[in-house]
Symmetry: C2
Subunit: 317 residues, 2 copies
């Protein structure tokens, strides 16, 4: 990833992108200004965009999105709701929702009082963290809802909490355990560890929680990430699984299922959503509509950042 050695290059890239997007210079002018070849200027701008150094936001509320937000708020009694324009099919909706999710996160980070912020995992949360600006917020504590170790022992690809903590310089409490362990006994052992108990306690007392929402269809993240086999998935599907938050699986009414799997999950089950302790779901995509509707129905989440087609899909049900 971006190491410290890249800093001067990133600085150049950021400067070039600034001149390009804010200053409105052409790449030729940038090259002249910075004393580079035009190709290099082009590469720097491109690099800045690719590395997420540059961040575009829409200073305008689209009527359609506002309507959907109002409808979702109304129907599910949401505390927070953001609906971003869709990007058309074949584009990753994370690109669309990440900036809005980041704004929600920044809103919390901007609070001057100290908060405990709990975080799930997943691509959407990772996108959110990447889009968060480098604000200093050392007064808050960041805590992980679930383990960040994948089955193969590697730290999870979607490292959310460490990245965010690094950006905002806040104390952080990752859960240094696997998401899912092999046996009930192993889990019991882990849960008895003081460190794990402390992190779980903090997570359960979180003031705000940000989570992804997983679908339980054939492309379930729990399966593609290797936590479930296809057979296990099918069995759980037959038990009525509609979605999953932090690994905990629920049915179409958003009621958590009583599964054998539960005893092997190390993470905290999210069930604290109240107006003063919101749980914000960050998710978009047609595959996630069912899972989102269920989580919203029972109030597992009472805040939502999604995109237009997903919002419409949720409301259509």
């Amino acid at each position: 990833m971006t190491s410290d050695l890249d800093a001067p290059i990133d600085d150049q890239a950021a400067r070039a992108a600034w001149l390009y997007y804010v200053g409105g210079l052409t790449q030729d002018q940038i090259a002249a200004e910075m004393g580079l070849s035009r190709q290099r200027a082009q590469r720097l701008v491109s690099r800045a965009v690719g590395a997420g150094l540059i961040h575009v936001r829409l200073n305008h509320h689209l009527a359609r999105c506002v309507e959907l937000e109002a409808a979702l708020r109304e129907r599910f009694g949401l505390v927070r709701c953001r609906v971003m324009p869709g990007l058309g099919p074949a584009r990753d909706p994370v690109r669309s929702i990440a900036p809005a999710a980041a704004e929600e996160m920044e809103r919390v980070l901007a609070e001057s009082g100290s908060r405990v912020i709990a975080l799930g995992t997943g691509r959407a949360l990772r996108g959110m963290v990447d889009a968060v600006g480098p604000v200093e917020a050392p007064q808050h504590r960041l805590v992980s809802l679930l383990g960040n170790i994948a089955l193969d022992g590697s730290a999870s690809y979607f490292e959310v909490i460490m990245r965010l903590a690094e950006k905002v310089r806040a104390p952080h409490y990752p859960m240094p355990v696997p998401v899912l362990v092999d046996s009930v006994e192993e889990n019991r052992t882990l849960q008895s560890l003081g460190a794990v108990r402390k992190v779980r306690g903090l997570a359960q007392a979180a003031d705000v929680t940000f989570v992804g929402v997983g679908q339980m269809s054939e492309d379930a993240p729990l399966m593609t990430d290797g936590f479930l086999t296809a057979d296990e998935l099918h069995e759980i599907q037959r038990a009525g699984a509609a979605g999953e938050v932090a690994g905990w699986i629920y049915d179409r009414q958003g009621r958590y299922l009583d599964l054998a799997l539960n005893a092997r999950l190390t993470g905290v089950r999210v069930e604290i959503a109240t107006p003063s302790r919101p749980v914000i779901g960050i998710a978009a995509g047609s595959q996630k509509i069912v899972a989102l509707r269920a989580a919203l129905t029972s109030g597992i989440i009472n805040g939502l950042v999604t995109d237009e087609p997903t919002a419409a899909g949720i409301l259509a049900g």
Copy 2:
């Protein structure tokens, strides 16, 4: 300006720009997606940029800017300081500092407690307001430091407070009087009005103040905006004028001058900057270096948003 009738067009423009900048589609693809001709897509994107619907921010701290910020903070004991990359000569520095100033404003607006926010006038503040996102902040009160009526009786070109109030839906207290009146008596009459007294009192009690900083050189805004004649300007220059905040003129040490003009100024003189009641100066440009250094020296302002060359110039003195 942008009227309500433009809303559907602005919606289209915003959507096109979203697809272009966030989605990364080409204008051809946008045209296909939205069912338009390519030219129309191009015009919409262009319109969105022109109308300030789209807002670019740099998610990366440039080493050079951070250094300058630290040096300014240190030397002048600043509460807040932001230095943005310069755009090269011949580009309006307001483009560079407006987004950062808007972030500072949003930071204040995000506070959940109720604040009184005082605002000056000028191009830089106008740029800031345009860059502020449509956040709801009805808990705060916005108050004007000085009149918004120009000499010819028209409401000032740089309408700052009304625009901001409209965006954030906060109660606002403009000062419905001229910046400068013709005679001392006229001023006395105005100042005795209950409405004016109330606004002035609120402004003096502001929790945060945002001001532009005017230079007193040959291109002084006070003169180009028609408040001073060339002769008056020259006389004031001879009296040692270095800069001006909200119309109140100070010398190179940042001490307010005792001028005949003062008796005709309707606005509030800013002299409340403390760590808990910051006064943030928003200004950039080589002509403003002297004025800024003076205001920083005496602490008329204790916060600053500027650009790189200006910051370097201030420190060089």
